[in-house]
């Protein structure tokens, strides 16, 4: 079985000179649920943006065996669904339905296909009833779920999450964890929420100052107090 995501020596420097990613390499297999943890400023968001091809990093990224390049990017984008940290900026259309329909519409699918995809995505997150509502008027938890639907509409093979449980009250958080557990896609979740990690992700990565400092079974890493403290996780 080939890895669904293969990253080799990924390096990224911000325009102002800050080194955000320093030679990150990793492999993720289909069906895996992997947590990406680390202190603030470690480069987690940057890594996700680079994987989605929004930031152009040095090194190689292969999705489903296809090398990420300028030419292959539009196609590969559909395979990696990136859910941003703030749903405010991810939901930019007047209604929920239009937001979810954006991706298939952009792809040039037929109206029937678009509607089918949108409905399917909304159903997967349990938000069909909200189709005609304005994203602006939803609660944080509802917005997060719609944000996930907007990405599911691309039928991605893998989902990338940036701090999915941030800003949620306990009930919404529980519902989100429940939702994530049921998603069939491969998951890479960047988060501080170690409790969520324990629930959902058997494998855990620790990123600190742009370098991958740990990669192993969650229960082992979480038991290593010294490791956690050293990298701002406890």
């Amino acid at each position: 079985m080939n890895p669904i995501l293969e990253v080799h020596n990924l390096t990224y420097t911000y325009p102002d000179g800050r080194l955000a990613l320093n030679g990150v390499s990793l492999r993720i297999w289909p069906g895996e649920r992997v947590a990406l943890t680390g202190p603030n400023g470690a480069g987690k968001s940057t890594l996700l943006l680079a994987l989605a091809g929004i930031l152009h990093a040095e090194g190689s990224i292969q999705v489903d065996g296809i090398l990420l390049s300028h030419a292959s990017l539009p196609r590969l984008r559909a395979r990696l669904g990136l859910v941003f940290q703030s749903p405010e900026d991810q939901l930019f259309s007047p209604t929920v339905f239009e937001d979810v329909a954006y991706a298939p519409l952009y792809q040039g699918l037929t109206p029937a296909e678009i509607t089918a995809r949108a409905n399917e995505a909304l159903a997967a997150v349990g938000m069909q009833a909200f189709a005609t509502r304005m994203p602006h008027h939803l609660s944080m938890g509802e917005k997060k779920r719609v944000a996930i639907a907007t990405v599911l509409a691309m039928r991605p093979a893998m989902l990338l999450f940036d701090e999915p449980s941030a800003g949620l009250d306990p009930r919404a958080r529980r519902e989100l964890i429940h939702l994530l557990e049921q998603l069939p896609q491969t998951l890479l979740i960047a988060t501080h929420d170690l409790n969520l990690v324990q629930h959902i992700c058997p494998r855990m990565l620790i990123l600190d100052e742009g370098r991958l400092v740990a990669d192993g079974k969650t229960e082992h890493l979480l038991a290593d107090e010294g490791l956690l403290v050293a990298h701002g996780l406890a």
Binding site: P94, T95, M134, H136, H137
Partner: protein, 315 residues
């Protein structure tokens, strides 16, 4: 933060001194009157609103959408600011945006800022206001008035600001009128469509989320004078378009190439020049158009100044 220079911000050196000074004077006069008027009539909550909205417009100018392969549409925002806030606050908002763009991002010169302010904060705002009021008047209570008005206002603001810009370049002797007017006018007739589309997109969004924000301030200003102004502007547009339309039957396609040309700034100029110098555009026609527009502008300014003075003496 990505920032790309807008095609309508004139840099220093492109306008002659007399033109720059004259426009500085006019802008200071008009913006100064607007400030004095606002200091008296502004409610306190509008001050933070203007500042924050100015930031939104500034940032909003980064939002683009692909028109064709190489070009993209942008937002200027003068029309949107006018529709949301009313003409006087919009003047201040656009002044802030234009001045900071010039100072901080070097988009637009400082000597010629009077001209840029005139084009964007005065012509842009007032043409949008006049056209919007006119369309709204015609539509009465109907909802299409908001969107048709918004589109027309946005388009007019861009087109007329571009014409003013072209006239300034011509009066300064930097670009001859028979080059500047069709080039700027043509390109911005297209860009104006983009502005119009984004504006109604934004208005649609706001109408659905907070319709209260749209129905407010502007009612009090529906004077006859504005309708007259709106009509006058439409007359100008017709005057400008008829000669252009006849001498350039496929003018807009040609202009679209110009759009690509301006974006890439690479192709050899002599491929373009022959079109400019085609003897189909008589200089007299353009001189008349220019004179007509200039006359209209002068009369408009006189009317506005008279109106402002009158209001001041009435206390």
């Amino acid at each position: 933060m990505l920032y790309s220079p807008q095609p309508m911000h004139i840099p220093d050196g492109f306008l002659s001194l007399p033109v720059s000074l004259a426009l500085w004077l006019i802008s200071i006069l008009l913006i100064g009157s607007a400030v004095r008027r606002l200091e008296k009539t502004l409610s306190e909550r509008e001050v933070p609103l203007m500042g924050v909205l100015a930031a939104a417009i500034f940032a909003g100018q980064m939002l683009n959408f692909t028109v064709t392969g190489g070009t993209s549409g942008h937002l200027l925002g003068a029309a949107l600011a006018t529709i949301l806030l009313g003409p006087y606050p919009a003047m201040l908002v656009m002044t802030s945006v234009v001045s900071v763009q010039a100072l901080l991002f070097q988009d637009g010169g400082l000597v010629v800022m009077g001209a840029n302010l005139f084009n964007m904060a005065i012509v842009g705002v007032w043409s949008a206001y006049a056209v919007f009021s006119l369309v709204r008047r015609l539509a009465g209570k109907a909802r299409w008035g908001l969107f048709a008005g918004g589109f027309a206002a946005a388009w007019s603001s861009i087109f007329l600001a571009a014409l003013a810009c072209a006239l300034e370049l011509a009066l300064s002797g930097t670009s001859p009128a028979n080059l500047a007017v069709p080039a700027m006018g043509g390109i911005h007739a297209l860009i104006g469509i983009g502005e119009g589309l984004i504006t109604i997109g934004a208005l649609g969004f706001l109408y659905a989320a907070r319709p209260d924000l749209l129905s407010s301030e502007n009612r009090q200003q529906a004077l006859n004078r504005t309708v007259w102004l709106g009509g006058g502007i439409i007359a100008v547009l017709l005057t400008v378009f008829s000669p252009l339309a006849s001498s350039h039957p496929d003018g807009l396609e040609w202009v679209a190439e110009q759009l690509q040309f301006i974006e890439s700034a690479r192709p050899p100029f002599y491929e373009i020049i022959p079109d400019y110098l085609v003897p189909g555009i008589p200089n007299e026609a353009l001189a008349t158009i220019a004179a007509g527009i200039l006359g209209l502008v002068v009369v408009t300014l006189a009317a506005m100044s008279a109106g402002l003075l009158r209001r001041r003496t009435q206390g």
